[in-house]
């Protein structure tokens, strides 16, 4: 007598046997035993328990999750993640840009480039050494170090300068932190006037390009600072609120800098926020008669 093959028996674990198969099963104890055993196998397969993963699997997984940025292993100051800081920095750029745009729109008669009598010679970026790089959040960059211009070389006259010494809230004897007397276009070897962009230097090396970025960044920073100071006379917004916001941004960028101290973008954001905060501080000081530093 030929037996049912194992594949047929496997099918009969779930399916009903046809008449021939049923007849065979009723007369063949061996095939019945096979069917019973296979039914037990399938039942047992369904009851197989879970299995513990290797103890070191989590460590390996965690490393990979951290590497992929899927897990927040460390929190920085103020509970912010690196991603949040990136977002905050992007926000800073957006808000700063919008604000600068608004200010520019308010004072169309004072475009920086048009009042800028700075020399228009071809920039010599590699020689530029007075460009600020990363600074700590609490650093108040001495005005002399960032703006080495003297009265004698300041090409603008008092009539152009929106500020005068009379609004300087600091006492006359205060020389330790020399006041940023007025906004003047930066004494830079690089000029960004729109009609001179064609003369914008093309860096030949990576180092040169980096210096150019830092130089233009510093120019941008100073331009923004100057704009903020000029706007302080007309800006109807609450400077204290703005100051608080800027302080918050500074704390964020500082935390980001602690993690990536050489990141040029974050450094740029940080410097911009720093300058904005200082300008706002001056604005608040002017309003209250106090000292901004």
């Amino acid at each position: 007598m030929s037996h049912l093959n194992l594949e047929t028996i496997a099918r009969l674990v779930e399916d009903e046997p046809d008449t021939i198969e049923a007849a065979h099963l009723s007369s063949c104890a061996e095939c019945r035993a096979q069917l019973e055993a296979m039914t037990e196998d399938v039942h047992a397969l369904g009851l197989l328990p879970d299995m513990a993963a290797a103890p070191d699997q989590w460590e390996a997984l965690e490393r990979r999750l951290v590497h992929e940025g899927l897990i927040r292993r460390r929190t920085h100051g103020f509970g912010m993640t690196a991603r949040m800081m990136q977002i905050a920095a992007a926000l800073l750029l957006f808000v700063g840009g919008a604000w600068a745009g608004r200010m520019t729109a308010q004072e169309p008669t004072q475009p920086l480039a048009s009042t800028d009598p700075a020399p228009a010679e071809t920039p010599q970026v590699p020689g530029t050494t007075d460009v600020p790089t990363a600074v700590a959040a609490d650093d108040h960059v001495p005005p002399q170090s960032i703006d080495p211009r003297s009265e004698s070389i300041d090409p603008r006259s008092d009539s152009v300068d929106p500020r005068s010494d009379s609004v300087d809230p600091r006492p006359a004897g205060s020389v330790e932190h020399a006041p940023r007397e007025r906004f003047a276009p930066p004494r830079r070897d690089v000029t960004l006037a729109s009609n001179e962009t064609s003369a914008f230097p093309q860096p030949r090396t990576m180092e040169e390009a980096a210096r150019l970025v830092r130089a233009t960044e510093a120019m941008y920073l100073e331009a923004l600072t100057g704009m903020a100071e000029m706007a302080s006379n007309t800006d109807a917004g609450d400077p204290v609120v703005r100051l608080a916001a800027l302080q918050s941004i500074l704390m964020t960028t500082q935390a980001a800098l602690n993690e990536t101290p050489t990141d040029p973008i974050i450094n740029g954001y940080h410097l911009t926020a720093l300058a904005q905060r200082d300008a706002t501080l001056r604005q608040v000081a002017q309003a209250t008669g106090g000292q901004w530093y």
Binding site: T8, A37, A44, G46, L48, D50, M51, A53, E62, E68
Partner: protein, 184 residues
């Protein structure tokens, strides 16, 4: 922390919540992946891949399905993907002629071990169908969808796999019966 809180926090990248989810579900994930892999080392790689996929996809998890179901599906998909990738690179011979340890015990642990061993010895294609159908409870339609085959193909492959499995278990069962007979 309940599961919903845990998931919500894990979606935000919270390390503690992510580890908590891993602790809760790693035995389930490891079991399905290990059985589909048929090999401890492969299973570790695939399980890690499955978890990375889970945490990548977690922010998009909206709770439409139970988390365990969602997770299980990702683990299965990940293991099947791993198998396809491996099959493309390695032509694997089934070690059907390997010596089998017939010294089983009569308790359930021994039966599970025998089943697991037999599963590991099945050819990869057969194993994944047995694991998906008989261990994990997928229907032939679902298996067909997962593997890109017809439900009828899944069914016929399952019967072949069960027959093969029975053949692999047979010596062990005989040994158990003989051992029991000796005890009596």
């Amino acid at each position: 922390m309940n599961e919903a809180d845990c998931i919500r926090r894990a979606q935000q990248g919270d390390a503690t919540a992510i580890r908590d989810l891993y602790r809760r579900y790693s035995p389930r994930v490891h079991a399905v992946v290990r059985r589909l892999a048929g090999d401890d080392a492969l299973a570790e790689d695939w399980a890690q891949e499955a978890w990375v996929r889970v945490f990548r996809a977690l922010p998009a998890f909206r709770g439409d399905a139970r988390f365990s179901t969602w997770l299980h599906r990702i683990a299965v998909n990940s293991a099947l993907h791993g198998r396809r990738w491996r099959d493309r690179r390695v032509s694997r011979e089934s070690p059907l002629d390997a010596e089998r340890d017939a010294s089983g015990r009569t308790d359930q642990v021994a039966l599970r071990l025998s089943l697991q061993r037999a599963l590991d010895e099945l050819p990869g294609g057969m194993r994944q169908i047995v694991v998906l159908h008989d261990v994990e409870g997928y229907t032939h339609e679902e298996i067909g969808e997962l593997l890109g085959i017809a439900a009828g193909t899944s069914k016929s492959q399952l019967f072949k796999a069960r027959a093969r499995l029975r053949g692999l278990l047979q010596p062990a069962k005989h040994a158990v019966i003989e051992e029991e007979a000796c005890r009596i």
